[in-house]
């Protein structure tokens, strides 16, 4: 047999460094780490709230500490990454056909951004900030 196919190895741990496309993907995958921690922080906050004023202000103090702020800025950035990449993918995952026309992706994405803006404003109003 003269055949001797050559197999190129792909590193199982560093493959995503090879292409900017993969780096972007990893960036939104990693957002989950921050979301997870944030969920933890929230749950702790709820417990603290249940435990009374002191516990709650302790939690607030932690959140507003430099480390807390840095962490939240990071989470915020990653949540924006998550939102934008998620919206970008929606037309692919959810193709809408009206008769012979496929609803243009930009329209769907635009609608999502619109809803996002409305939701954010409403939440801010409810929270009494604005």
């Amino acid at each position: 047999m003269s055949r001797k196919p050559y197999h190129r190895e792909v590193s199982k741990t560093t493959w995503f460094l090879k292409q900017s496309r993969y780096q972007h993907y990893m960036l939104h995958e990693i957002s989950s780490v921050f979301v997870a921690i944030y969920v933890g922080v929230l749950i702790v906050g709820l417990f603290r709230l249940a435990q009374g004023p002191e516990a709650w202000s302790g939690w607030l103090a932690a959140v507003t500490s430099p480390i807390g702020v840095i962490f939240h800025i990071l989470v915020f950035i990653f949540s924006i990454i998550h939102t934008t990449s998620w919206f970008k993918a929606v037309p692919q995952a959810m193709r809408i056909q009206r008769g012979e026309e496929i609803v243009p992706g930009n329209l769907i994405i635009g609608a999502h951004y619109g809803v996002w803006a409305v939701v954010s404003v409403v939440v801010l109003l409810v929270a009494g900030v604005a």
Binding site: M1, S2, R3, K4
Partner: protein, 584 residues
């Protein structure tokens, strides 16, 4: 040598080969099929067909109309029994393909849509946007996966037919990835190896269309029929030779010369209606349109470009929506390759070699004169195309005759019982293998594949193009004979076994040279003008002497022997071909 025992060997897995394989599998699931192809089935050149496949379905149409269009389109060189059978069977074949999932374009009612095509009196060309062949090929390939009796041998290059006592019993093929010679031993062979447009330098045909099957049958003693009829398609992109489908004109595209004038009206194809009139102007037959280009060029009314003279295809009035919906590939190709967007620009085009009307001589059952050997698709000549094929008839042809080849091969296998002589065939296969080995061993060969190929290409283009004459043809024949002699001293530069494309190109060149020789000699001997064969020295059709099929027989040491066979005429007597306003 590896031996594959089977019942039916099919060489080629394009539209015709796949259709034949499915026909066999459906007719008799117990028969083993070896489907041998030098490329993966979906790479076969059927995928390049854009425009569509003709078949009568609409109320206003009739089988007789399709028959008449095809016979007169072929300048009465068609065999009318074959055409009749063809027009009868094609609607069923196209419907069958629909049932198998082919994404035909549709009318609002859900029925299949049809579009006008050159030389057709009525709109009857089924299409799948402008990727008809692609969708047909993939539908056939994917459907073929249902049948467990079809065993594929992808990327096996067939070199020779195995013939014992005048009966075809199989073939030898090289597994391209290992270089290993394999003997396919069966009871019958169907050749579906496609056309040979690559013998010309400027062609719409892909790299694989090198006439291998034609040459194999020819070398085995089966005649090649009507090889002088080579179709030029009027609208190829200059430079690359990429085709812009006749569908462009079917949808309303116009051909204009350097003055913006619709020159076809000067060649008995008028009146120049602004709408597409069937069988007139841009919807005339391909031979006439390509010939008109030649004359415009002689009159200096074409447009010079860096890739040679062109005329313009004007589709701007069709509008972006229609172009995107019906001709998306055309738009993509013209933008990419010549930087012209059909929506806003004139697209430069010129005639380009497209299709071989001729091929392996078969009867209406796709049987060749040799027992056990069938042929179908572009490699075969039944003949339904005569002197000029109408656009959209060949996709139909490969279905109808591919299926017939399959079914008749099954019948044939049932009659032959067990065959003797396997040992003799193995010896033959050994000889075939040593011939290849000797190519490897040859040292000091002086001839280069690329150079020989270029010489053959240029000779054919110069002497055997849209118009030919005695002098040009004699010159071409001499030069091809010379190329053929030099080929014996060709040098193989790559001596390896694994995927040696140098070897396959060398073998393909060998096949092309044989085919090219039959084209030139057949053309030289036909002293008349008919369809795609136009002689400057014999400008009229001569039914008295040449209402006949040319038969070219192999001669290992010289020019092919030319003989003639009768044309079958049933209900349509030869008459003048009429296009333009008078055709209505």
């Amino acid at each position: 040598m590896k031996v594959v025992n089977t019942d039916i060997v099919i060489i080629g897995a394009g539209g015709a080969g796949l259709r034949a394989a499915i026909a066999v599998a459906e007719a008799d699931p117990t028969l083993n099929i070896a489907l041998v192809s030098k490329v993966y089935p979906m790479r076969s050149h059927t995928c390049a067909a854009e425009g569509g496949a003709a078949g009568v379905v609409k109320e206003s149409d009739s089988l007789d109309y399709h028959f008449n269009d095809t016979v007169s389109g072929g300048d009465w060189l068609t065999d009318q029994d074959a055409v009749e059978l063809f027009v009868n069977e094609i609607p069923k074949e196209l419907t069958q393909l629909e049932h198998w999932g082919c994404p035909w374009s549709r009318e609002d009612t859900g029925k299949v849509a049809v579009r006008p095509f050159g030389g057709m009196k009525i709109m009857r060309t089924w299409y799948a946007a402008d990727k008809t062949g692609f969708h047909m090929l993939h539908t056939l390939f994917q459907t073929s996966l249902k049948y467990s009796s079809i065993r594929r041998f992808d990327e096996f290059y067939t070199t020779d037919l195995m013939i014992d006592d005048g009966v075809c019993r199989g073939c030898t093929a090289i597994e391209m990835r290992s270089g290993e010679m394999t003997l396919f031993l069966g009871k019958t062979v169907i050749i579906c190896s496609g056309g040979a447009g690559r013998i010309f330098p400027f062609t719409t045909n892909g790299a694989i269309k090198t006439g291998d099957g034609m040459a194999m049958a020819y070398r085995a003693g089966v005649p090649l029929k009507d090889m002088e009829f080579v179709q030029y398609h009027p609208t190829g992109l200059p430079g690359s030779g990429i085709l812009l489908t006749e569908g462009c004109r079917g949808e309303g595209g116009l051909l204009v010369n350097k003055d913006g004038y619709r020159y076809l009206q000067d060649y008995d194809l008028g009146p120049p209606d602004p709408w597409p009139r069937l069988k007139a102007m841009e919807l005339g037959p391909r031979d006439r349109l390509s010939q008109a280009f030649y004359h415009e060029q002689k009159k200096g009314r074409t447009i010079p470009s860096k890739w040679g003279d062109v005329v313009h295809l004007d589709m701007r009035h069709l509008g972006e929506k229609k172009i995107n919906e019906r001709l998306p590939l055309v738009r993509d190709l013209s933008r990419s390759y010549v930087g012209a967007d059909p929506v806003t620009d004139l697209v430069p085009v010129r005639p380009v070699v497209h299709y071989m009307m001729g091929g392996i001589h078969t009867d209406i059952n796709a049987a060749t004169p040799m027992s056990g050997l069938y042929a179908a698709g572009e490699c075969a000549c039944v003949s339904i195309n005569g002197a000029n094929r109408l656009g959209s008839n060949s996709l139909g042809e490969l279905l109808v005759f591919g299926a017939r080849a399959g079914r008749h091969a099954v019948e044939y296998v049932k009659t032959v019982g067990t065959l003797e002589g396997d040992a003799r065939i193995e010896k033959q296969a050994g000889d075939a293998e040593s011939r290849i080995k000797s190519l490897f061993k040859r040292t000091g060969g002086k001839q280069r594949v690329a150079a020989l190929r270029r010489d053959m290409n240029m000779t054919l283009e110069e002497g055997c193009g849209i118009y030919r004459d005695e002098n040009s043809l004699i010159d071409t024949c001499t030069r091809i004979a010379d190329v053929r002699a030099r080929y014996r001293d060709v040098r193989l530069e790559d001596k390896s076994n694994v995927y040696n494309t140098d070897l396959y190109q060398t073998l393909e060149l060998g096949a092309m040279i044989e085919v090219a020789q039959t084209v030139a000699i057949s053309a030289l001997q036909r002293k008349e003008s008919r369809g795609a064969h136009q002689r400057l020295d014999f400008t009229a059709r001569d039914d008295e002497n040449y209402l006949k099929h040319t038969m070219a027989f192999y001669n290992p040491n010289g020019d092919p022997r030319i003989d003639y066979a009768d044309v079958t005429i049933t209900k349509s007597q030869p008459a003048a071909r009429v296009y333009g306003g008078a055709a209505a």
